[in-house]
Each structure stands twice: as structure tokens, then as C-alpha cells.
């Protein structure tokens, strides 16, 4: 690796490693090598030519942002495809269990249990997609949705099996701490951000 290539690799150090970054480095290196040869043919020494080529290269910040945004777009599209797959998959699995439940044992409702397990799949991928697409924190809304999912299951089991004895409040109390903790965490982060803006 010559001096020019070393400098170029150092310039791109802060950029996330991916195929596009390697292609850009190769392209930049090739073009800068041509520029150096041009400057040498016009009478500069090789050291002067390399120095001038690197000085004229400029600040890589705009290029870094474009590369990061392209990489993010690819990641978001991939997350979108995973979400779509999980929704179809979950619907198929839930549909199958619904059929088996009502075909073989219509008097006992049990499809809610595998449904509860499967529904976490598209739900977590949905929040991951939102986080990548909108660049927002999803901890709080995810915890709220999860709370209602667990609360719904506990309520169903209680009322279905032992409607005369109310016990769902106990697991509900335990799970409620999750969204409450996430709420106060989000408020604390918002406060920190406002403090750093004011400073």
C-alpha cells in the first residue's frame, strides 16, 4: 500500500465498513493516482503531487453522510421485507392453530397461547422497522404494546378459567413496571438532550 492509499484509508476510517465504501475507496484511489501522475507530468515532484492531490481532496463529511444514508436505506428496506414476511408468517401460523382448535376441540379455546407466542415476531420486527425508518426510540411504545399483549392474555386466562376469582391484577402489576420504567427513562433522556442544547 503506497502513501496515497494509506492516506485515503485513513480518511475513510470513520465510515461504516461495507461494500459501497470499498468501491468508493478503490475509485478515489484510482482517480487520485491519475491526478498525481498528471501533476508529476506537469513538473511537480511525486511528494508535492501527492500532497497537493490530498490537500485538494476536501472534507469527507458530505460523502460520509451520503454513504451512511445509502447504507441506512438498504438496511431499512431489508427490515421492511423481514416485517412483511413475519406478518404473513404469523397470519399463516395463527390461521392454522385457529383451524386446528375449532376443528378438533371447539369446546376448549387454546389457540390464544400459540397466537400470543407468535405475535411477538411481527411486533418486534415492526418496531425495529419504525426505529430504522423514522430514527426514533421505540423502547416506550414497544413496552406499552407488550404490556397490553401480556395483560390481554392474563385477562383471558383469568376470565376463561376462573371468572369468580380475580387474580390477573397480580401479573398485571408486575408487568406494568416495564412501560412505567421506559416512560421515565424516555423523559430523563429528553431532559438530558434539552440540557445539552441549552448549555
Amino acid at each position: 500500500m503506497n502513501e496515497l492509499e494509506m492516506h485515503i484509508n485513513k480518511l475513510f476510517e470513520t465510515v461504516t465498513d461495507n461494500k459501497r465504501k470499498q468501491e468508493i475507496i478503490q475509485e478515489v484511489t484510482s482517480n487520485l493516482n491519475e491526478k498525481v501522475e498528471d501533476l508529476v507530468s506537469k513538473g511537480q515532484t511525486r511528494e508535492q503531487a501527492v500532497k497537493n492531490a490530498l490537500d485538494d481532496f476536501g472534507d469527507i463529511e458530505d460523502l460520509r453522510q451520503e454513504l451512511e444514508s445509502s447504507a441506512k436505506l438498504v438496511k431499512t428496506k431489508s427490515a421492511g421485507l423481514s416485517l412483511a414476511f413475519s406478518i404473513w408468517g404469523a397470519l399463516l401460523i395463527i390461521g392454522l392453530f385457529l383451524f386446528i382448535n375449532f376443528y378438533y376441540s371447539a369446546k376448549t379455546i387454546w389457540f390464544v397461547y400459540p397466537t400470543f407466542a407468535v405475535i411477538w415476531w411481527p411486533m418486534s420486527l415492526y418496531f425495529r422497522w419504525i426505529h430504522l425508518n423514522k430514527d426514533v426510540a421505540v423502547g416506550l411504545p414497544f413496552s406499552i404494546c407488550s404490556f397490553f399483549l401480556i395483560f390481554g392474555l392474563m385477562l383471558f386466562i383469568n376470565l376463561y378459567y376462573s371468572p369468580k376469582f380475580i387474580w390477573f391484577v397480580y401479573p398485571t402489576f408486575a408487568v406494568l413496571w416495564w412501560p412505567i420504567a421506559m416512560l421515565f427513562h424516555a423523559l430523563r433522556e429528553k431532559n438530558k438532550k434539552e440540557e445539552s442544547i441549552d448549555a
Binding site: 475509485e27 491519475e34 485538494d56 476536501g58 469527507i60 460523502l63
Partner: protein, 111 residues
């Protein structure tokens, strides 16, 4: 000779580069060289800015890339304009004429 401030040109870089690629398929160094030659060295585009513009134009689908002949151990990356790029360029040229006419109203008489 004073160089033109890059802040003034910044908003038109996409159109400038698209125009050069429209004329013929080109690669990075050829384009930066061409800009310096055509402006009589009044304007030099930084290579980092040029590559950022390439990324932006490719992402918008206005240009596409392909690998060409070998140079300095690797194949040169060429850029060519797409039909969307040609339409965008036409629009930018039309907008530029409107902007130039407006600015001329206020700048022309002052020497």
C-alpha cells in the same frame, strides 16, 4: 485570479455534474478536470464533494455507474445519465434561466 466561492455554486453542483455526464459518460477525475478547464480555473470542485454528488445522483436514479477500462490497477468507474437524469437536467436548466433573469434585474446595472 480569485476563485469563485463554493457556497455560491453549491446549489447547482448536481446540475453542473449532470450536464457533463449528459455530454459523455465520464469518471471522477475527468469531470473535476473538465470543470477546472471550462471555468478557466475560476472554480475547482473538491473531489470529496464530487463523490458525494455522485452518490446523491445515483441514489435519486439520475445517473448510473459501470466499470470501464483498467487504470492504475483497477477498473475505472464511469457514470452515465439516465432518462430521469435527462428530464431533471432539463428542469434545472429551465429553473436556472428563471433565477438568472431575476438576479439580473438587481445586479445588472451595478458595476
Amino acid at each position: 485570479m480569485s476563485l469563485i466561492s463554493s457556497d455560491i455554486i453549491r446549489g447547482h453542483l448536481d446540475a453542473i455534474i449532470l450536464r457533463l455526464i449528459y455530454e459523455k459518460d465520464s469518471y471522477g477525475y475527468e469531470i473535476s478536470n473538465e470543470i477546472a478547464v471550462r471555468t478557466n480555473n475560476e472554480f475547482h470542485i473538491k473531489e470529496a464533494t464530487l463523490y458525494a454528488v455522485f452518490q446523491r445522483l445515483v441514489k435519486k436514479g439520475l445517473i448510473e455507474t459501470y466499470l470501464g477500462d483498467v487504470s492504475f490497477g483497477s477498473r475505472r468507474r464511469y457514470y452515465r445519465i439516465t432518462p430521469s437524469g435527462k428530464a431533471f437536467l432539463q428542469e434545472e436548466i429551465s429553473n436556472w434561466h428563471k433565477v438568472r433573469n431575476v438576479i439580473n434585474i438587481f445586479m445588472e446595472d451595478l458595476k
